[in-house]
Amino acid sequence: MKKVPLDIIVMVKQVPDSQEVVIDPVTMNLNRSLTRNVTNRADENALEVALSLRDKAGGTVTVISMGPPQAETTMYECMARGADRAILVSDRFFGGADTYPTGLTLASTISKIGKFDVVVAGEESSDSSTGHVGPGVAEFLNIDQITYCSHVDYKDRHVIAERELEDGTEVVKTPTPVLVTVLLNSNFPRRQTLRRKIDAMKKGFEVWNLEKLGLPPEWVGVRGSPTIVRRMRSIKEKERAAKKFDLSNLGNLVSELYEKNILKLEED
C-alpha cells in the first residue's frame, strides 16, 4: 500500500504553571510575578498524537500558538519533542482575546499555512479551560471535528479515533481533513532531546503578526471579543472534614465508611 504523507498542525497554548498560580487577594488578578509559564499539559498529549501519526504515515508536524513573545520556550520545547516547524502568532492586537477571536486567529493561521490533513488540539487549557478553541477552529475552517479523543489512528485518508464517554468508548472514523481534540494524560509525550533542541535553536521558529494574517484589527484580540468579564470572585475553600487513619489498620477505616453509608458492598 502506498504511504500518503500527512500534514499535521498542532495547536499549543502556553499557560501559567497551574501548580504555581497565585491570585492576588486584593486585586483578584493573577499574580504573574512568581508564576512561570509552561506548555499546556493536554497540548503535550496533542503533540504526541501528531508525532505518532507522522511516525506511521510520514509527513510533517507544524506547531502553532497564539501568545506573547515569551511563548518562545514552548516553541523550542515542541520542536525538541519532534515538531518540524513552529509558528508563534504574536502581536499586541491579539491581546485580551476570548475564545472567539482566538479560534478565528488560529483558523486563519492554518488557512495561511495552506495544506493540512489533520489539526490536533488539547481538550482544554489549564488556565481558562473552556474547551471552546478546538471546536471553534473546526467551525471556522468548516471541517469535521472529533473531540475528547483518548486514542487517534490514521488509515487511508481517514482518522479513526476513540472517544472517552461517560458509559464507554466510542470509535469514530472520519475522512480528512479533520480536527481532533485530545484528552489530558491520554498518552506519554515523548521527551525532548538535546540533539533536537540544538537543531531547533539553530533553525528558530517563525513569528507571524496581524499583518501577515491579513485580518482586520477589530476582528481580533480584545476588540474582537464578544465576552466581557464583569466580575471575578475567589472561592473560599471550605475545610473538608478530614480524619487520620492508621495505615496498619485499614479495617477500621472500611467499617467506618460502611457504617456512614459512604461505602457500599456489592450485595447491598
Binding site: 520556550t73 525538541a80 521527551r191 525532548q192 532531546t193 538535546l194 540533539r195 533542541k197 540544538i198 535553536m201
Partner: protein
C-alpha cells in the same frame, strides 16, 4: 571536527560563569541544564560573595537579582533556653559591601541569560546522561541516543555529580564529604523584616547558629538570612552524626530549628512558601579529586569546591571562581588547538594559585573541629553557665570573669588544660 569548542554540563554559578567567560572570548559554547528554567533544581542559603563575578559581569551589583546586602551578622550558640551570640554590624558594609542574599532560581536564570547574551547556546530542560569517551579522552556528551561532540567538556553538575561519577572521574561522596542542607523560605512583608531585624533599606541580616540544644548526638548548624520580602531559614545536618544517632529524622531537625523560641519569634507571622533540600560539600581539601584530564575539567561543587563548617556555607563564590578559571583554560587551549591533559593542567595551576584552593588548604580538617563536641556541646554549655553566673542575681559577690569561665568549664567536666588545648586547636584552624 567537533560541533562545539566546549560543552558545559550544568547552569549553576560554576557552569554559567565558565560559559560566559568562554563565549565572551568567541568560543562556540553549549551550556546544558536539566532544570527548566535554570535554578529550579538548586538550593543555597544563600549569601553570595560575588566579587569574582566582576571579571565576567562588571555591573553585576546593579543588574543581578540581589535581595539584600549583609549589614548585620550574628553568630550564635543556641541551647535549649539560651542564645549566646556575637552580633556584629557595621556601616562600613554599605560602602565596602560584603555578601548579598540571593535566591537561586532568580540568580541562576540571570546568569544563564548572561551566557546566552554572550553567545553561548543555552539548552534547558535536558539532562546529560553520560560522557562520550574514547581511550580516556572526553569527546562529547550523550543524551538519549545522541552524542554531541566538543573539544572539551566542563563538568559543573553540582554536589551530586552523576556524570563525573559514572565516567569514573569522581568518587561518589560519603558521609564525611557531604552534609544535608534543608531550607524553608518564609514570606514576610519588607517593613516587618526591617523592623524586626533592625534594618534600613537594602541592608540585611545574616544569622548562623550552632544548634547545641539538639538531643542525643545529632549535630547541626542553622542559618537565617533576610531577603527583600522573605526569610531563608535552614539547617545543615551532619550525615555521619545522623547515622550514629539512628533515630532522628533529618526533616525533624529543620522543624526543631524554626521552633526554637528565639528563632520562631524571628519568623513569626511568616508564611512558609517553600521547603527544599540539597547536599552540601563540606570535606576539606583532601576530598578533591583530580580536576582535569584529556578533554575535560571539573568545576564548582562537582569538584568539591565548597566549604561548610556546619554554620557558614560558602560555595557559590568558589563555583564562580573555578568556573571562570576553567573557562580561561579552555580559551588558552583553543588558541593552541590542544585540549590534552597537559594543556588543561593550566586549570590545575590556576586553582593552586587562587584563593579557592588556598582557603581549602587553610581549612583542611576544619570539619573535624567544627563538627566536634567542643563546638556543638561544650563551648555552648560553658558560655551559658558563665553568663548565668555573671548576670544572675544571687546576692553573693561576683567572681572574676576568668574564674567563672574556668569554673563553668570544670562544671562541665573538662579540665583546664583540656580546654586550653582544644581552644587553641580551634583558633589555629579558624
Amino acid at each position: 571536527m567537533s560541533e562545539f569548542d566546549a560543552i558545559v554540563v550544568g547552569a549553576g554559578p560554576a557552569g554559567s560563569s565558565a560559559a560566559i567567560k568562554m563565549a565572551n572570548a568567541g568560543l562556540k559554547v553549549l551550556l546544558v541544564e536539566r532544570g527548566d528554567p535554570p535554578g529550579t533544581k538548586n538550593v543555597s542559603g544563600g549569601i553570595l560573595w560575588g566579587k569574582d563575578l566582576s571579571q565576567i559581569i562588571p555591573d553585576w551589583e546593579k543588574t543581578a537579582p540581589l535581595e539584600r546586602f549583609v549589614e548585620r551578622k550574628v553568630t550564635s550558640f543556641l541551647t535549649a533556653d539560651s542564645e549566646i551570640s556575637i552580633d556584629f554590624k557595621t556601616l562600613k558594609f554599605s560602602t565596602d559591601r560584603t555578601g548579598y542574599a540571593v535566591l537561586r532560581t532568580r540568580l541562576d536564570q540571570y546568569l544563564s541569560k548572561k551566557a546566552s547574551q554572550a553567545g553561548a547556546t543555552v539548552i534547558t530542560g535536558i539532562t546529560v546522561d553520560s560522557l562520550h569517551m574514547e581511550n580516556g579522552k572526553v569527546l562529547g556528551v550523550v543524551n538519549e541516543e545522541d552524542t554531541i561532540t566538543s573539544d572539551c567538556v566542563i563538568l559543573a553538575e553540582g554536589a551530586n555529580p552523576r556524570v563525573a561519577i559514572k565516567a569514573g572521574l569522581r568518587q561518589p561522596p560519603g558521609d564525611d564529604d557531604v552534609a544535608l542542607g534543608i531550607k524553608q523560605v518564609y514570606k514576610l512583608p519588607e517593613a516587618t523584616i526591617n523592623e524586626r531585624y533592625n534594618l534600613r533599606g537594602n541592608a540585611g541580616f545574616a544569622g548562623e547558629y550552632v544548634l547545641s540544644f539538639l538531643e542525643d548526638d545529632v549535630y547541626a548548624g542553622g542559618f537565617l538570612y533576610t531577603n527583600k520580602d522573605s526569610i531563608s531559614a535552614g539547617v545543615v545536618v551532619s550525615l555521619s552524626k545522623l547515622r550514629e544517632n539512628g533515630k532522628t529524622r533529618s526533616f525533624d531537625i529543620m522543624e526543631k530549628f524554626v521552633s526554637h523560641p528565639f528563632i520562631s519569634r524571628l519568623l513569626e507571622g511568616g508564611q512558609i512558601q517553600e521547603y527544599s533540600a540539597h547536599l552540601v560539600y563540606e570535606g576539606g581539601y583532601s576530598t578533591m579529586a583530580k580536576l582535569y584530564g584529556n578533554g575535560y575539567m571539573i568545576a564548582g561543587d562537582a569538584a568539591g569546591f565548597s566549604f561548610s563548617n556546619g554554620m557558614v556555607i560558602e560555595g557559590m563564590n568558589y563555583a564562580i571562581a573555578s568556573g571562570i578559571m576553567a573557562g580561561e583554560a579552555a580559551i588558552q587551549a583553543k588558541k593552541e588547538g590542544d585540549f590534552s591533559d597537559q594543556s588543561l593542567s593550566r586549570y590545575g595551576r590556576m586553582l593552586e594559585e587562587s584563593y579557592a584552593i588556598k582557603d581549602k588548604k587553610t581549612f583542611r580538617g576544619i570539619e573535624k573541629v567544627t563538627w566536634s563536641p567542643l563546638v556543638h556541646r561544650i563551648i555552648p554549655r560553658i558560655a551559658e553557665n558563665s553568663m548565668m553566673k555573671l548576670f544572675n542575681e544571687t546576692g553573693e559577690p561576683k567572681d572574676h570573669v576568668v574564674r567563672i569561665l574556668l569554673d563553668s568549664a570544670f562544671d562541665q567536666g573538662i579540665s583546664k588544660s583540656d580546654l586550653l588545648i582544644q581552644g587553641y586547636r580551634l583558633m589555629r584552624r579558624m
